[in-house]
Symmetry: C2
Subunit: 482 residues, 2 copies
Amino acid sequence: MHRQLYDKLRGEILAGHLKSDTRLPPTRLMAEDLGVSRNTVITTYDALLAEGYLESRSGSGTWVATLPADAVAARNLVGSAGAPSLSSRGTRMANQPRDRTIPDHIAFHPGYPEIKGFPFSAWARLLKRHARYSHEDLYGYHWVAGLPRLQAAIADYLRGSRGVECNPEQVLVVNGAQAALDILARMLVDEGDVCWLEEPGYIGAQNAMLSAGARLVPLPVGPEGWSLDDEARPSPRLIFVTPSCQWPLGCVMRMEDRLRLLQIAERHDAWIVEDDYDSEYRFRGRPIPAMQGLDKSGRVIYLGTFAKTLFPSLRIGFIIVPPQLADGFKRVASNTGHCPSLLLQAALADFISEGYFATHLRRMRRLYAERQKLFVALCRHHLADWLTIEENDAGMQLVARFTRAFEDEALWQSAQRHGVDFSPLSRQFFSSPPQQGAILGYAGIDLKAMREAIISLRAAFVNLDSECASDQLPKSALPPRS
Amino acid sequence: MHRQLYDKLRGEILAGHLKSDTRLPPTRLMAEDLGVSRNTVITTYDALLAEGYLESRSGSGTWVATLPADAVAARNLVGSAGAPSLSSRGTRMANQPRDRTIPDHIAFHPGYPEIKGFPFSAWARLLKRHARYSHEDLYGYHWVAGLPRLQAAIADYLRGSRGVECNPEQVLVVNGAQAALDILARMLVDEGDVCWLEEPGYIGAQNAMLSAGARLVPLPVGPEGWSLDDEARPSPRLIFVTPSCQWPLGCVMRMEDRLRLLQIAERHDAWIVEDDYDSEYRFRGRPIPAMQGLDKSGRVIYLGTFAKTLFPSLRIGFIIVPPQLADGFKRVASNTGHCPSLLLQAALADFISEGYFATHLRRMRRLYAERQKLFVALCRHHLADWLTIEENDAGMQLVARFTRAFEDEALWQSAQRHGVDFSPLSRQFFSSPPQQGAILGYAGIDLKAMREAIISLRAAFVNLDSECASDQLPKSALPPRS
């Protein structure tokens, strides 16, 4: 009742029907008139008084406040004006592509790790441990650069397993790898600066650099490696690379090219951003150490994520920043709001220091190696008419090339209708005429789901074939030739 | 052993001591020479082969690879060059102030809610529920705009309690209020655009706008309200306000001023960002509905946070975006990495829909009202020589003014040494000569801690008094006059 009366009176005042400086009836009379309790009227008057719709004048009751008549009138005409437009930057940011996912469908979206095999009971126990009150600092505004125990655990892991040179103070824990790119792009690049990005290359890095106003220049990558020789390219301010497992091709940058790239960066006084997003999954031989450990000048900024080693929706990533910039980056993490929840950081720190992380990694490495073999075998068996696919030493996805001239976006549309996802290779190109192909993630699905999804993908290809065939027929199609 | 040998050989190659095209001894000989197992040598050679330091030549053993001599040499000189500099934007961002916290000290940092009284056992149960495997979509890359159940819960709450007009698709769940500001500043403002910000006003909003390149123009606020009449101010692109409980003064914008502000925004075709950061805590009367519900043109963008109603390190906030911009903002949330963990979102959605949120809010509203009364009484009893303080109808902090000409930063230094924190009022000014005062958060500490901290603050004032007194003495001080 109170709400109804409140909305009614407020509406009448805002519409200009109850005019400024009108005296309202005393609460008792209003209550009698409306057949409601006097308390309802008193509560309503009080609310409207507090908000300034009404005024109390001493000795003479309650009045409609003097509201600016033109503003009241303007408000009632305001719908026509409509909202302002976004900034130019905002328009650019709002129109960038993003790699969509399909609810309920994991296969074959790249980058999905195995979820069901995650040690959830240990994880739940660790979370519960920190979900109870332990220490005030875990709930407030502390540790904007990261929970110190997690910074230390990450530094230890990276020194031991990835050859990264760092101390815990250099570890900036952020809300996922995309947050890391969002920070780095703004910190290292001004509007109009040139960035060399791998092509094909990571769409998330493209987006972050474009959002920061960078001019993208392709650094071509093929199965044989990175094309570093082109001196015709404009001088870069930042070079983005995935040297340990190139996204999406999966190749590894050889030592010769790493040294060459450091030399190029030095010559141009450019930063190198090294995205080490899934280098943990190397199936043959020892993982390749990070470039960061080769660099002596502090120009290589390393970033990594737990999206592939734990799961994507955890949203915890990290940047290894040069020591002299650690304080500045800490401010920026705080001022951009890119710090992840301390509860998750505490649970993750325990997950690493109590050995669950290393065990899970070992298990996943074995599992993904098996799944890759099976996946390639199944693709060759069922899809050989449409695509070729090769095994790779590393990563969680493979690039399949088409045997005929298909548009990968058309295949994606068709696959989506069959409940299967993948990432079209053409989306990873931003300047050159794109190559066509399918980036297929195989790590997150078991044999049964894999087999079913491959059959669905086959159906998508068959559909596409028949669409292409019908496109080539004249409109008044003759019966098929015998 | 393997690691030592690996480091040794790699170091020799990179230092140029082991030259390109040198043949290494066969593994058996190397193992005998060094007194290690042959397997150790084989593993080491394999690793260096994989990384491109060594080459295997068929029939003639293992060789040091042909690395670019100039790059090897350059690397060894590289330390001298040093790292590149940050971008101009990065330098600006890295040098912005941030409101620091002191580990182990909550009193009287503003914005801290009561932590110990949080229903942790319910929270732990809800987290555990979602920390086990339930549905694939909770772990992957889905729901970048927010978990649909949480979007719906927030929309319901805002419609019912805050008078916000929205549907669930307009709710963008982001990594805290600062993330919301970081997104909004970039989406709505271009470099050089004018933003009106309240002065004194929220430092986080200042930082976000400056990071986006905005030109800040003060919108003065005093105890009597907002100064909206100054037509001499440059035309704004965005107006940032906290109308329901002004930060830091705690005043409420009256209806007349809300309409006037909407009219001004309309005239300049400007956005209004309404930060409703702690309006839930209103101790007398009904909470004032949000401005967003008054606006018909879609120019008011509402943002809120769970930092004050649950706890800050949860890091979940939200933006209510105009319907036609929902898709663009969703892309931007995804491309900037501002999406919070889905696990926390799932637990929070249950926390709201199962009634814990409403119960906790009611309890905290009562508790903070009591604490405010106690706090004001204690301050008046112990600190009347140094400051004046008034009760307020709302919020989690009060602004105390000094009775004498103190520098609030000097008091802050002194207070910090006594283990007490607060926010200097002068930090909330960005253009005008700052006013001096102390923003004192009282919500997060119980009576005992409050009393102790007030005694410590008293000691900090006494210290400051004696420092001021000694500053006024000549260097060769005479004994104090009797």
